[in-house]
Symmetry: C2
Subunit: 291 residues, 2 copies
Protein backbone atom coordinates (compact mmCIF):
# COMPACT_ATOMS: atom_id res chain seq x y z
CA UNK A 1 0.00 0.00 0.00
CA UNK A 2 1.11 3.56 -0.74
CA UNK A 3 0.29 6.95 0.83
CA UNK A 4 -2.34 9.35 -0.52
CA UNK A 5 0.46 11.59 -1.81
CA UNK A 6 2.00 8.68 -3.71
CA UNK A 7 -1.26 7.70 -5.41
CA UNK A 8 -1.92 11.37 -6.12
CA UNK A 9 1.46 11.81 -7.79
CA UNK A 10 0.89 8.77 -10.00
CA UNK A 11 -2.40 10.32 -11.16
CA UNK A 12 -1.12 13.90 -11.58
CA UNK A 13 1.86 12.72 -13.64
CA UNK A 14 -0.30 10.56 -15.90
CA UNK A 15 -3.40 12.69 -16.66
CA UNK A 16 -2.10 14.93 -19.40
CA UNK A 17 0.24 12.35 -21.00
CA UNK A 18 -2.64 9.86 -21.17
CA UNK A 19 -4.86 12.43 -22.90
CA UNK A 20 -2.13 13.47 -25.32
CA UNK A 21 -1.25 9.84 -26.10
CA UNK A 22 -4.49 9.60 -28.08
CA UNK A 23 -3.00 11.53 -31.02
CA UNK A 24 -3.34 15.00 -32.52
CA UNK A 25 -6.01 17.01 -30.71
CA UNK A 26 -6.90 20.54 -31.96
CA UNK A 27 -5.10 23.13 -29.81
CA UNK A 28 -8.18 24.91 -28.46
CA UNK A 29 -9.88 21.65 -27.49
CA UNK A 30 -6.74 20.30 -25.79
CA UNK A 31 -6.16 23.59 -23.97
CA UNK A 32 -9.73 23.68 -22.72
CA UNK A 33 -9.73 20.03 -21.57
CA UNK A 34 -6.35 20.40 -19.81
CA UNK A 35 -7.42 23.68 -18.15
CA UNK A 36 -10.11 21.82 -16.21
CA UNK A 37 -8.22 18.54 -15.91
CA UNK A 38 -5.20 20.27 -14.36
CA UNK A 39 -7.19 22.57 -12.05
CA UNK A 40 -6.16 20.29 -9.20
CA UNK A 41 -8.56 18.96 -6.63
CA UNK A 42 -8.12 15.93 -4.43
CA UNK A 43 -8.26 13.38 -7.26
CA UNK A 44 -10.34 11.30 -4.90
CA UNK A 45 -11.85 9.03 -7.55
CA UNK A 46 -8.63 7.97 -9.31
CA UNK A 47 -6.84 7.60 -5.94
CA UNK A 48 -9.67 5.31 -4.79
CA UNK A 49 -9.30 3.21 -7.93
CA UNK A 50 -5.54 2.77 -7.49
CA UNK A 51 -5.92 2.08 -3.76
CA UNK A 52 -8.67 -0.49 -4.34
CA UNK A 53 -6.53 -2.25 -6.94
CA UNK A 54 -3.51 -2.14 -4.58
CA UNK A 55 -5.57 -3.40 -1.63
CA UNK A 56 -6.44 -6.58 -3.54
CA UNK A 57 -2.87 -7.15 -4.75
CA UNK A 58 -3.35 -5.76 -8.28
CA UNK A 59 -0.90 -3.96 -10.56
CA UNK A 60 -1.31 -0.22 -9.97
CA UNK A 61 0.51 0.78 -13.18
CA UNK A 62 -1.90 -1.31 -15.24
CA UNK A 63 -4.83 0.38 -13.49
CA UNK A 64 -3.57 3.90 -14.27
CA UNK A 65 -5.46 4.47 -17.57
CA UNK A 66 -8.71 3.54 -15.80
CA UNK A 67 -7.91 5.91 -12.92
CA UNK A 68 -7.20 8.76 -15.36
CA UNK A 69 -10.37 7.93 -17.30
CA UNK A 70 -12.43 8.24 -14.13
CA UNK A 71 -10.95 11.66 -13.36
CA UNK A 72 -11.72 12.73 -16.94
CA UNK A 73 -15.34 11.64 -16.47
CA UNK A 74 -15.56 13.54 -13.19
CA UNK A 75 -14.05 16.61 -14.88
CA UNK A 76 -16.43 16.50 -17.85
CA UNK A 77 -19.37 16.36 -15.44
CA UNK A 78 -18.10 19.47 -13.63
CA UNK A 79 -17.61 21.42 -16.88
CA UNK A 80 -21.13 20.65 -18.08
CA UNK A 81 -22.59 21.16 -14.59
CA UNK A 82 -21.09 24.68 -14.39
CA UNK A 83 -22.64 25.82 -17.71
CA UNK A 84 -25.08 28.74 -17.66
CA UNK A 85 -27.96 26.43 -18.64
CA UNK A 86 -27.13 24.18 -15.66
CA UNK A 87 -25.77 25.53 -12.33
CA UNK A 88 -24.33 28.69 -13.91
CA UNK A 89 -21.17 28.76 -11.76
CA UNK A 90 -18.34 31.13 -12.57
CA UNK A 91 -15.86 29.81 -10.00
CA UNK A 92 -14.50 26.27 -9.55
CA UNK A 93 -11.51 25.31 -7.41
CA UNK A 94 -10.67 29.01 -7.12
CA UNK A 95 -10.46 29.54 -10.89
CA UNK A 96 -12.94 30.84 -13.48
CA UNK A 97 -15.04 27.96 -14.84
CA UNK A 98 -14.27 26.48 -18.24
CA UNK A 99 -16.97 28.32 -20.22
CA UNK A 100 -15.88 31.63 -18.65
CA UNK A 101 -12.44 31.17 -20.19
CA UNK A 102 -13.13 29.29 -23.44
CA UNK A 103 -16.76 30.13 -24.23
CA UNK A 104 -19.79 27.90 -23.92
CA UNK A 105 -19.31 26.17 -27.27
CA UNK A 106 -15.78 24.99 -26.51
CA UNK A 107 -16.74 24.09 -22.93
CA UNK A 108 -19.52 21.80 -24.19
CA UNK A 109 -17.07 20.17 -26.60
CA UNK A 110 -14.37 19.89 -23.91
CA UNK A 111 -16.86 17.97 -21.76
CA UNK A 112 -17.85 15.72 -24.67
CA UNK A 113 -14.15 15.28 -25.45
CA UNK A 114 -13.17 14.27 -21.91
CA UNK A 115 -15.95 11.68 -21.71
CA UNK A 116 -14.97 10.31 -25.13
CA UNK A 117 -11.27 10.27 -24.21
CA UNK A 118 -12.03 8.41 -20.98
CA UNK A 119 -13.82 5.66 -22.87
CA UNK A 120 -11.14 5.48 -25.55
CA UNK A 121 -8.34 5.18 -22.97
CA UNK A 122 -10.11 2.38 -21.13
CA UNK A 123 -10.91 0.52 -24.34
CA UNK A 124 -7.34 0.84 -25.57
CA UNK A 125 -6.04 -0.47 -22.25
CA UNK A 126 -8.61 -3.29 -22.31
CA UNK A 127 -7.47 -4.31 -25.82
CA UNK A 128 -3.85 -4.42 -24.62
CA UNK A 129 -4.63 -6.56 -21.54
CA UNK A 130 -5.74 -9.51 -23.60
CA UNK A 131 -8.31 -10.84 -21.08
CA UNK A 132 -11.75 -9.59 -20.02
CA UNK A 133 -10.79 -7.80 -16.76
CA UNK A 134 -10.23 -4.50 -18.57
CA UNK A 135 -13.52 -4.53 -20.41
CA UNK A 136 -15.39 -5.53 -17.22
CA UNK A 137 -13.77 -2.67 -15.30
CA UNK A 138 -14.60 -0.22 -18.11
CA UNK A 139 -18.20 -1.47 -18.17
CA UNK A 140 -18.54 -0.81 -14.44
CA UNK A 141 -17.27 2.75 -14.85
CA UNK A 142 -19.45 3.47 -17.90
CA UNK A 143 -22.52 2.05 -16.15
CA UNK A 144 -22.05 4.10 -12.98
CA UNK A 145 -21.30 7.27 -14.96
CA UNK A 146 -24.23 6.74 -17.32
CA UNK A 147 -28.00 7.06 -17.67
CA UNK A 148 -28.80 4.85 -14.68
CA UNK A 149 -25.95 6.41 -12.66
CA UNK A 150 -24.36 9.83 -12.57
CA UNK A 151 -26.28 11.33 -15.51
CA UNK A 152 -29.53 10.12 -13.93
CA UNK A 153 -28.62 11.80 -10.64
CA UNK A 154 -27.67 15.00 -12.46
CA UNK A 155 -31.00 15.04 -14.26
CA UNK A 156 -33.03 14.79 -11.06
CA UNK A 157 -30.72 17.35 -9.41
CA UNK A 158 -31.29 19.86 -12.23
CA UNK A 159 -34.94 19.24 -13.03
CA UNK A 160 -36.19 19.03 -9.43
CA UNK A 161 -34.59 22.28 -8.26
CA UNK A 162 -37.01 24.23 -6.08
CA UNK A 163 -39.30 21.24 -5.48
CA UNK A 164 -40.04 19.71 -2.05
CA UNK A 165 -36.76 18.22 -0.69
CA UNK A 166 -38.06 14.76 0.27
CA UNK A 167 -35.57 12.26 1.64
CA UNK A 168 -36.47 9.90 -1.21
CA UNK A 169 -35.44 12.41 -3.90
CA UNK A 170 -32.32 13.58 -2.06
CA UNK A 171 -31.23 9.96 -1.48
CA UNK A 172 -31.62 9.23 -5.20
CA UNK A 173 -29.61 12.31 -6.19
CA UNK A 174 -26.80 11.62 -3.71
CA UNK A 175 -26.65 7.91 -4.54
CA UNK A 176 -26.37 8.55 -8.27
CA UNK A 177 -24.94 12.02 -8.80
CA UNK A 178 -22.19 11.45 -6.21
CA UNK A 179 -21.94 7.94 -4.76
CA UNK A 180 -21.98 6.14 -8.13
CA UNK A 181 -18.74 7.84 -9.13
CA UNK A 182 -17.13 6.81 -5.82
CA UNK A 183 -18.43 3.26 -6.16
CA UNK A 184 -17.10 2.95 -9.71
CA UNK A 185 -13.40 3.13 -8.68
CA UNK A 186 -13.88 0.42 -6.04
CA UNK A 187 -15.70 -1.90 -8.42
CA UNK A 188 -13.28 -1.27 -11.29
CA UNK A 189 -10.10 -1.32 -9.17
CA UNK A 190 -11.03 -4.62 -7.55
CA UNK A 191 -12.04 -6.20 -10.87
CA UNK A 192 -8.69 -5.14 -12.38
CA UNK A 193 -6.90 -6.78 -9.45
CA UNK A 194 -8.80 -10.00 -10.04
CA UNK A 195 -10.59 -9.85 -6.66
CA UNK A 196 -13.37 -12.35 -5.90
CA UNK A 197 -17.09 -11.60 -6.00
CA UNK A 198 -17.51 -11.09 -2.25
CA UNK A 199 -14.62 -8.60 -2.13
CA UNK A 200 -16.07 -6.67 -5.08
CA UNK A 201 -19.44 -6.61 -3.32
CA UNK A 202 -17.92 -5.22 -0.10
CA UNK A 203 -15.87 -2.70 -2.07
CA UNK A 204 -19.05 -1.46 -3.74
CA UNK A 205 -20.69 -1.08 -0.30
CA UNK A 206 -17.65 0.91 0.87
CA UNK A 207 -17.86 3.22 -2.14
CA UNK A 208 -21.58 3.78 -1.68
CA UNK A 209 -21.33 4.72 2.00
CA UNK A 210 -18.23 6.84 1.42
CA UNK A 211 -20.06 8.65 -1.38
CA UNK A 212 -23.14 9.34 0.73
CA UNK A 213 -21.00 10.63 3.64
CA UNK A 214 -18.91 12.68 1.23
CA UNK A 215 -21.95 14.41 -0.34
CA UNK A 216 -23.49 15.11 3.08
CA UNK A 217 -20.23 16.78 4.12
CA UNK A 218 -20.37 18.79 0.89
CA UNK A 219 -23.93 19.85 1.69
CA UNK A 220 -22.82 20.95 5.18
CA UNK A 221 -19.85 22.90 3.81
CA UNK A 222 -22.11 24.81 1.43
CA UNK A 223 -24.01 26.02 4.51
CA UNK A 224 -21.16 26.39 7.01
CA UNK A 225 -17.97 26.54 4.92
CA UNK A 226 -15.61 29.36 3.98
CA UNK A 227 -15.74 30.28 0.28
CA UNK A 228 -12.08 31.33 0.17
CA UNK A 229 -10.95 28.01 1.69
CA UNK A 230 -13.25 25.94 -0.56
CA UNK A 231 -12.35 27.82 -3.75
CA UNK A 232 -16.00 28.11 -4.74
CA UNK A 233 -19.02 30.16 -3.81
CA UNK A 234 -21.02 28.98 -0.78
CA UNK A 235 -24.73 29.28 -0.09
CA UNK A 236 -25.34 28.29 -3.72
CA UNK A 237 -27.44 25.22 -2.90
CA UNK A 238 -30.04 27.24 -1.01
CA UNK A 239 -29.97 30.02 -3.64
CA UNK A 240 -30.63 27.48 -6.42
CA UNK A 241 -33.23 25.55 -4.41
CA UNK A 242 -31.03 22.43 -4.60
CA UNK A 243 -32.29 19.24 -2.99
CA UNK A 244 -29.61 18.65 -0.33
CA UNK A 245 -29.51 16.45 2.76
CA UNK A 246 -29.44 19.60 4.88
CA UNK A 247 -32.60 20.90 3.16
CA UNK A 248 -34.33 17.57 3.79
CA UNK A 249 -33.16 16.85 7.38
CA UNK A 250 -31.41 19.90 8.83
CA UNK A 251 -27.78 20.40 9.82
CA UNK A 252 -27.69 18.20 12.92
CA UNK A 253 -29.28 15.13 11.36
CA UNK A 254 -27.00 15.48 8.33
CA UNK A 255 -24.00 15.40 10.63
CA UNK A 256 -25.29 12.22 12.31
CA UNK A 257 -26.13 10.54 8.99
CA UNK A 258 -22.71 11.38 7.54
CA UNK A 259 -21.05 9.76 10.57
CA UNK A 260 -23.21 6.66 10.24
CA UNK A 261 -22.38 6.24 6.53
CA UNK A 262 -18.71 6.71 7.31
CA UNK A 263 -18.97 3.97 9.97
CA UNK A 264 -20.67 1.61 7.51
CA UNK A 265 -17.98 2.32 4.91
CA UNK A 266 -15.32 1.25 7.43
CA UNK A 267 -17.32 -1.84 8.35
CA UNK A 268 -17.47 -2.97 4.71
CA UNK A 269 -13.66 -3.16 4.64
CA UNK A 270 -13.47 -5.93 7.27
CA UNK A 271 -12.91 -8.66 4.69
CA UNK A 272 -9.73 -6.92 3.53
CA UNK A 273 -8.12 -7.06 6.99
CA UNK A 274 -4.92 -5.06 7.38
CA UNK A 275 -4.87 -4.20 3.65
CA UNK A 276 -7.96 -2.07 4.21
CA UNK A 277 -6.10 0.43 6.44
CA UNK A 278 -5.65 3.12 3.77
CA UNK A 279 -9.31 3.19 2.72
CA UNK A 280 -10.45 2.89 6.34
CA UNK A 281 -8.57 6.03 7.31
CA UNK A 282 -9.80 7.80 4.22
CA UNK A 283 -13.44 7.15 5.16
CA UNK A 284 -12.80 8.42 8.68
CA UNK A 285 -11.02 11.57 7.50
CA UNK A 286 -13.97 12.52 5.25
CA UNK A 287 -15.75 13.79 8.33
CA UNK A 288 -12.93 15.93 9.68
CA UNK A 289 -13.96 19.16 8.01
CA UNK A 290 -17.44 19.23 9.53
CA UNK A 291 -17.10 17.57 12.96
Amino acid sequence: MRTYAEYLKLVEDALSPQLRSLGYIPEKLLESMEYSLEAGGKRLRPVLLLAACDMAGGDVEMALPFACALEMIHTYSLIHDDLPAMDNDDLRRGKPTNHKVFGEDVAILAGDGLLSAAMELMLRAACAMGDLRGVKAAEAIARRAGVTGMVAGQTIDVTQEGSEPTLEKVSYIHAHKTADLLTAPLEAGLILAGAGEEQVRQGIAYGFHLGMAFQMVDDLLDVEGDAALLGKNTGMDAALGKLTWVAACGVEQTRLDAAEHSRQAVEALECFGENGAFLRELAQSTLERVM
Copy 2:
Protein backbone atom coordinates in the same frame (compact mmCIF):
# COMPACT_ATOMS: atom_id res chain seq x y z
CA MET B 1 -26.98 -9.66 -47.73
CA ARG B 2 -30.17 -7.81 -46.89
CA THR B 3 -31.89 -4.73 -48.33
CA TYR B 4 -31.56 -1.22 -46.87
CA ALA B 5 -35.13 -1.51 -45.54
CA GLU B 6 -34.26 -4.75 -43.75
CA TYR B 7 -31.17 -3.31 -42.04
CA LEU B 8 -33.17 -0.19 -41.19
CA LYS B 9 -35.94 -2.22 -39.57
CA LEU B 10 -33.43 -4.13 -37.45
CA VAL B 11 -32.05 -0.80 -36.19
CA GLU B 12 -35.40 0.92 -35.67
CA ASP B 13 -36.77 -2.02 -33.70
CA ALA B 14 -33.70 -2.21 -31.46
CA LEU B 15 -32.84 1.43 -30.60
CA SER B 16 -35.29 2.12 -27.82
CA PRO B 17 -35.24 -1.42 -26.31
CA GLN B 18 -31.42 -1.29 -26.20
CA LEU B 19 -31.52 2.03 -24.36
CA ARG B 20 -34.21 0.86 -21.92
CA SER B 21 -32.38 -2.41 -21.28
CA LEU B 22 -29.80 -0.47 -19.26
CA GLY B 23 -32.18 -0.15 -16.31
CA TYR B 24 -34.26 2.58 -14.68
CA ILE B 25 -33.69 5.94 -16.38
CA PRO B 26 -35.41 9.08 -15.01
CA GLU B 27 -38.51 9.84 -17.08
CA LYS B 28 -37.47 13.29 -18.34
CA LEU B 29 -34.03 12.05 -19.40
CA LEU B 30 -35.43 9.00 -21.17
CA GLU B 31 -38.12 11.08 -22.90
CA SER B 32 -35.57 13.60 -24.10
CA MET B 33 -33.12 10.96 -25.37
CA GLU B 34 -35.86 9.01 -27.15
CA TYR B 35 -37.32 12.20 -28.68
CA SER B 36 -34.12 12.72 -30.65
CA LEU B 37 -33.28 9.04 -31.10
CA GLU B 38 -36.69 8.32 -32.62
CA ALA B 39 -36.80 11.42 -34.82
CA GLY B 40 -36.05 9.15 -37.75
CA GLY B 41 -33.44 9.88 -40.35
CA LYS B 42 -31.74 7.43 -42.68
CA ARG B 43 -29.88 5.56 -39.91
CA LEU B 44 -26.95 5.50 -42.32
CA ARG B 45 -24.27 4.77 -39.71
CA PRO B 46 -25.88 1.74 -38.05
CA VAL B 47 -27.00 0.39 -41.43
CA LEU B 48 -23.39 0.67 -42.63
CA LEU B 49 -22.20 -1.25 -39.57
CA LEU B 50 -24.66 -4.09 -40.07
CA ALA B 51 -23.97 -4.22 -43.81
CA ALA B 52 -20.18 -4.26 -43.28
CA CYS B 53 -20.53 -7.09 -40.78
CA ASP B 54 -22.86 -8.96 -43.15
CA MET B 55 -20.54 -8.41 -46.13
CA ALA B 56 -17.71 -10.24 -44.31
CA GLY B 57 -19.93 -13.11 -43.15
CA GLY B 58 -20.48 -11.87 -39.59
CA ASP B 59 -23.49 -12.28 -37.29
CA VAL B 60 -25.72 -9.23 -37.75
CA GLU B 61 -27.69 -9.85 -34.54
CA MET B 62 -24.47 -9.83 -32.51
CA ALA B 63 -23.50 -6.53 -34.16
CA LEU B 64 -26.80 -4.83 -33.30
CA PRO B 65 -25.74 -3.24 -29.94
CA PHE B 66 -22.76 -1.66 -31.69
CA ALA B 67 -24.98 -0.36 -34.51
CA CYS B 68 -27.40 1.17 -31.98
CA ALA B 69 -24.49 2.65 -30.03
CA LEU B 70 -23.24 4.37 -33.16
CA GLU B 71 -26.65 5.91 -33.84
CA MET B 72 -26.76 7.10 -30.22
CA ILE B 73 -23.37 8.77 -30.66
CA HIS B 74 -24.54 10.42 -33.89
CA THR B 75 -27.71 11.60 -32.12
CA TYR B 76 -25.84 13.02 -29.11
CA SER B 77 -23.63 15.01 -31.49
CA LEU B 78 -26.68 16.48 -33.21
CA ILE B 79 -28.33 17.47 -29.90
CA HIS B 80 -25.20 19.27 -28.69
CA ASP B 81 -24.53 20.74 -32.13
CA ASP B 82 -28.00 22.31 -32.23
CA LEU B 83 -27.60 24.09 -28.84
CA PRO B 84 -27.78 27.91 -28.79
CA ALA B 85 -24.08 28.11 -27.85
CA MET B 86 -23.22 26.00 -30.91
CA ASP B 87 -25.17 26.18 -34.20
CA ASN B 88 -28.36 27.48 -32.54
CA ASP B 89 -30.73 25.45 -34.72
CA ASP B 90 -34.42 25.26 -33.88
CA LEU B 91 -35.37 22.69 -36.52
CA ARG B 92 -33.98 19.19 -37.10
CA ARG B 93 -35.55 16.52 -39.31
CA GLY B 94 -38.68 18.69 -39.50
CA LYS B 95 -39.15 18.80 -35.71
CA PRO B 96 -38.18 21.34 -33.03
CA THR B 97 -34.66 20.60 -31.76
CA ASN B 98 -34.18 18.88 -28.41
CA HIS B 99 -33.44 22.00 -26.35
CA LYS B 100 -36.50 23.75 -27.83
CA VAL B 101 -38.68 21.01 -26.35
CA PHE B 102 -36.86 20.01 -23.14
CA GLY B 103 -34.76 23.06 -22.29
CA GLU B 104 -31.01 23.49 -22.61
CA ASP B 105 -30.15 21.78 -19.32
CA VAL B 106 -31.96 18.55 -20.17
CA ALA B 107 -30.69 18.67 -23.78
CA ILE B 108 -27.08 18.82 -22.55
CA LEU B 109 -27.74 15.87 -20.23
CA ALA B 110 -29.57 13.93 -22.97
CA GLY B 111 -26.47 14.29 -25.16
CA ASP B 112 -24.19 13.19 -22.31
CA GLY B 113 -26.58 10.35 -21.59
CA LEU B 114 -26.68 9.05 -25.17
CA LEU B 115 -22.87 9.06 -25.42
CA SER B 116 -22.63 7.26 -22.07
CA ALA B 117 -25.33 4.75 -23.03
CA ALA B 118 -23.56 4.01 -26.31
CA MET B 119 -20.35 3.14 -24.50
CA GLU B 120 -22.15 1.10 -21.86
CA LEU B 121 -24.05 -0.93 -24.47
CA MET B 122 -20.87 -1.72 -26.40
CA LEU B 123 -18.97 -2.65 -23.23
CA ARG B 124 -21.79 -4.88 -22.03
CA ALA B 125 -21.90 -6.61 -25.42
CA ALA B 126 -18.10 -6.93 -25.42
CA CYS B 127 -18.20 -8.59 -21.96
CA ALA B 128 -20.80 -11.07 -23.19
CA MET B 129 -18.83 -11.99 -26.33
CA GLY B 130 -15.96 -13.50 -24.38
CA ASP B 131 -13.23 -12.66 -26.91
CA LEU B 132 -11.57 -9.37 -27.89
CA ARG B 133 -13.51 -8.60 -31.08
CA GLY B 134 -16.15 -6.62 -29.18
CA VAL B 135 -13.69 -4.46 -27.30
CA LYS B 136 -11.68 -3.81 -30.50
CA ALA B 137 -14.84 -2.76 -32.35
CA ALA B 138 -15.85 -0.50 -29.45
CA GLU B 139 -12.36 1.02 -29.38
CA ALA B 140 -12.61 1.87 -33.09
CA ILE B 141 -15.95 3.60 -32.57
CA ALA B 142 -14.78 5.50 -29.46
CA ARG B 143 -11.58 6.61 -31.22
CA ARG B 144 -13.37 7.90 -34.31
CA ALA B 145 -16.05 9.65 -32.25
CA GLY B 146 -13.50 11.18 -29.88
CA VAL B 147 -10.96 13.95 -29.46
CA THR B 148 -8.90 12.96 -32.52
CA GLY B 149 -12.07 12.25 -34.51
CA MET B 150 -15.57 13.69 -34.51
CA VAL B 151 -15.14 15.99 -31.50
CA ALA B 152 -11.94 17.36 -33.08
CA GLY B 153 -13.78 18.08 -36.33
CA GLN B 154 -16.64 19.72 -34.41
CA THR B 155 -14.21 21.96 -32.56
CA ILE B 156 -12.58 23.26 -35.74
CA ASP B 157 -16.02 23.63 -37.34
CA VAL B 158 -17.27 25.76 -34.44
CA THR B 159 -14.16 27.76 -33.61
CA GLN B 160 -13.16 28.57 -37.18
CA GLU B 161 -16.54 29.91 -38.29
CA GLY B 162 -16.11 33.04 -40.35
CA SER B 163 -12.40 32.42 -41.04
CA GLU B 164 -10.86 31.92 -44.50
CA PRO B 165 -12.30 28.64 -45.95
CA THR B 166 -9.01 27.02 -46.99
CA LEU B 167 -9.16 23.53 -48.49
CA GLU B 168 -6.86 22.31 -45.69
CA LYS B 169 -9.27 23.37 -42.95
CA VAL B 170 -12.38 22.18 -44.79
CA SER B 171 -10.72 18.81 -45.50
CA TYR B 172 -9.91 18.41 -41.80
CA ILE B 173 -13.46 19.28 -40.75
CA HIS B 174 -15.10 16.94 -43.29
CA ALA B 175 -12.67 14.10 -42.56
CA HIS B 176 -13.27 14.25 -38.83
CA LYS B 177 -16.67 15.81 -38.21
CA THR B 178 -18.33 13.63 -40.84
CA ALA B 179 -16.15 10.91 -42.41
CA ASP B 180 -14.86 9.51 -39.09
CA LEU B 181 -18.38 8.52 -38.10
CA LEU B 182 -18.91 6.79 -41.46
CA THR B 183 -15.53 5.06 -41.22
CA ALA B 184 -16.27 3.79 -37.69
CA PRO B 185 -19.11 1.46 -38.76
CA LEU B 186 -16.97 -0.10 -41.49
CA GLU B 187 -14.03 -0.67 -39.16
CA ALA B 188 -16.20 -1.95 -36.29
CA GLY B 189 -18.53 -4.06 -38.46
CA LEU B 190 -15.62 -5.79 -40.19
CA ILE B 191 -13.77 -6.39 -36.89
CA LEU B 192 -16.93 -7.92 -35.40
CA ALA B 193 -17.17 -10.24 -38.42
CA GLY B 194 -13.57 -11.34 -37.89
CA ALA B 195 -12.41 -9.92 -41.26
CA GLY B 196 -8.69 -9.84 -42.08
CA GLU B 197 -6.47 -6.75 -41.89
CA GLU B 198 -6.57 -5.98 -45.62
CA GLN B 199 -10.37 -6.11 -45.69
CA VAL B 200 -10.57 -3.82 -42.66
CA ARG B 201 -8.15 -1.42 -44.37
CA GLN B 202 -10.26 -1.33 -47.55
CA GLY B 203 -13.44 -0.94 -45.53
CA ILE B 204 -11.92 2.08 -43.78
CA ALA B 205 -11.02 3.58 -47.18
CA TYR B 206 -14.61 3.04 -48.33
CA GLY B 207 -15.99 4.76 -45.24
CA PHE B 208 -13.64 7.71 -45.63
CA HIS B 209 -14.50 8.35 -49.29
CA LEU B 210 -18.21 7.79 -48.69
CA GLY B 211 -18.07 10.28 -45.81
CA MET B 212 -16.30 12.93 -47.86
CA ALA B 213 -18.79 12.52 -50.74
CA PHE B 214 -21.68 12.55 -48.28
CA GLN B 215 -20.59 15.81 -46.62
CA MET B 216 -19.99 17.48 -50.00
CA VAL B 217 -23.53 16.54 -51.02
CA ASP B 218 -24.75 18.00 -47.73
CA ASP B 219 -22.87 21.24 -48.45
CA LEU B 220 -24.47 21.38 -51.91
CA LEU B 221 -27.96 20.76 -50.53
CA ASP B 222 -27.57 23.62 -48.06
CA VAL B 223 -27.03 25.89 -51.07
CA GLU B 224 -29.42 24.31 -53.59
CA GLY B 225 -31.84 22.21 -51.53
CA ASP B 226 -35.48 22.64 -50.52
CA ALA B 227 -35.96 23.27 -46.77
CA ALA B 228 -39.35 21.54 -46.69
CA LEU B 229 -37.95 18.40 -48.35
CA LEU B 230 -34.84 18.37 -46.13
CA GLY B 231 -36.73 19.04 -42.89
CA LYS B 232 -34.23 21.70 -41.84
CA ASN B 233 -33.41 25.28 -42.69
CA THR B 234 -31.18 25.87 -45.73
CA GLY B 235 -28.66 28.63 -46.36
CA MET B 236 -27.50 28.20 -42.75
CA ASP B 237 -23.88 27.40 -43.66
CA ALA B 238 -23.35 30.72 -45.43
CA ALA B 239 -25.26 32.60 -42.72
CA LEU B 240 -23.01 31.12 -40.01
CA GLY B 241 -19.81 31.55 -42.05
CA LYS B 242 -19.32 27.74 -42.01
CA LEU B 243 -16.24 26.29 -43.70
CA THR B 244 -17.84 24.15 -46.41
CA TRP B 245 -16.47 22.55 -49.54
CA VAL B 246 -18.68 24.88 -51.56
CA ALA B 247 -17.22 27.92 -49.75
CA ALA B 248 -13.70 26.65 -50.49
CA CYS B 249 -14.12 25.45 -54.10
CA GLY B 250 -17.48 26.55 -55.48
CA VAL B 251 -20.49 24.49 -56.51
CA GLU B 252 -19.12 22.94 -59.69
CA GLN B 253 -15.85 21.72 -58.19
CA THR B 254 -17.73 20.31 -55.17
CA ARG B 255 -19.91 18.28 -57.52
CA LEU B 256 -16.82 16.91 -59.30
CA ASP B 257 -15.02 16.11 -56.02
CA ALA B 258 -18.08 14.36 -54.58
CA ALA B 259 -18.25 12.17 -57.70
CA GLU B 260 -14.56 11.34 -57.45
CA HIS B 261 -14.83 10.32 -53.77
CA SER B 262 -17.86 8.21 -54.57
CA ARG B 263 -15.85 6.47 -57.32
CA GLN B 264 -12.97 5.79 -54.90
CA ALA B 265 -15.39 4.41 -52.33
CA VAL B 266 -16.66 1.92 -54.90
CA GLU B 267 -13.09 1.03 -55.91
CA ALA B 268 -12.17 0.17 -52.29
CA LEU B 269 -14.82 -2.56 -52.30
CA GLU B 270 -13.13 -4.62 -55.01
CA CYS B 271 -11.65 -7.11 -52.52
CA PHE B 272 -15.15 -8.01 -51.35
CA GLY B 273 -16.29 -9.11 -54.84
CA GLU B 274 -20.02 -9.80 -55.20
CA ASN B 275 -20.58 -9.31 -51.44
CA GLY B 276 -19.76 -5.63 -51.89
CA ALA B 277 -22.85 -4.99 -54.05
CA PHE B 278 -24.96 -3.39 -51.32
CA LEU B 279 -22.31 -0.89 -50.21
CA ARG B 280 -21.31 -0.20 -53.83
CA GLU B 281 -24.84 0.82 -54.72
CA LEU B 282 -25.11 2.87 -51.55
CA ALA B 283 -22.01 4.89 -52.49
CA GLN B 284 -23.37 5.50 -55.95
CA SER B 285 -26.80 6.57 -54.71
CA THR B 286 -25.26 9.21 -52.40
CA LEU B 287 -24.82 11.46 -55.40
CA GLU B 288 -28.36 11.15 -56.73
CA ARG B 289 -29.81 14.16 -54.93
CA VAL B 290 -27.30 16.62 -56.42
CA MET B 291 -26.46 15.30 -59.90
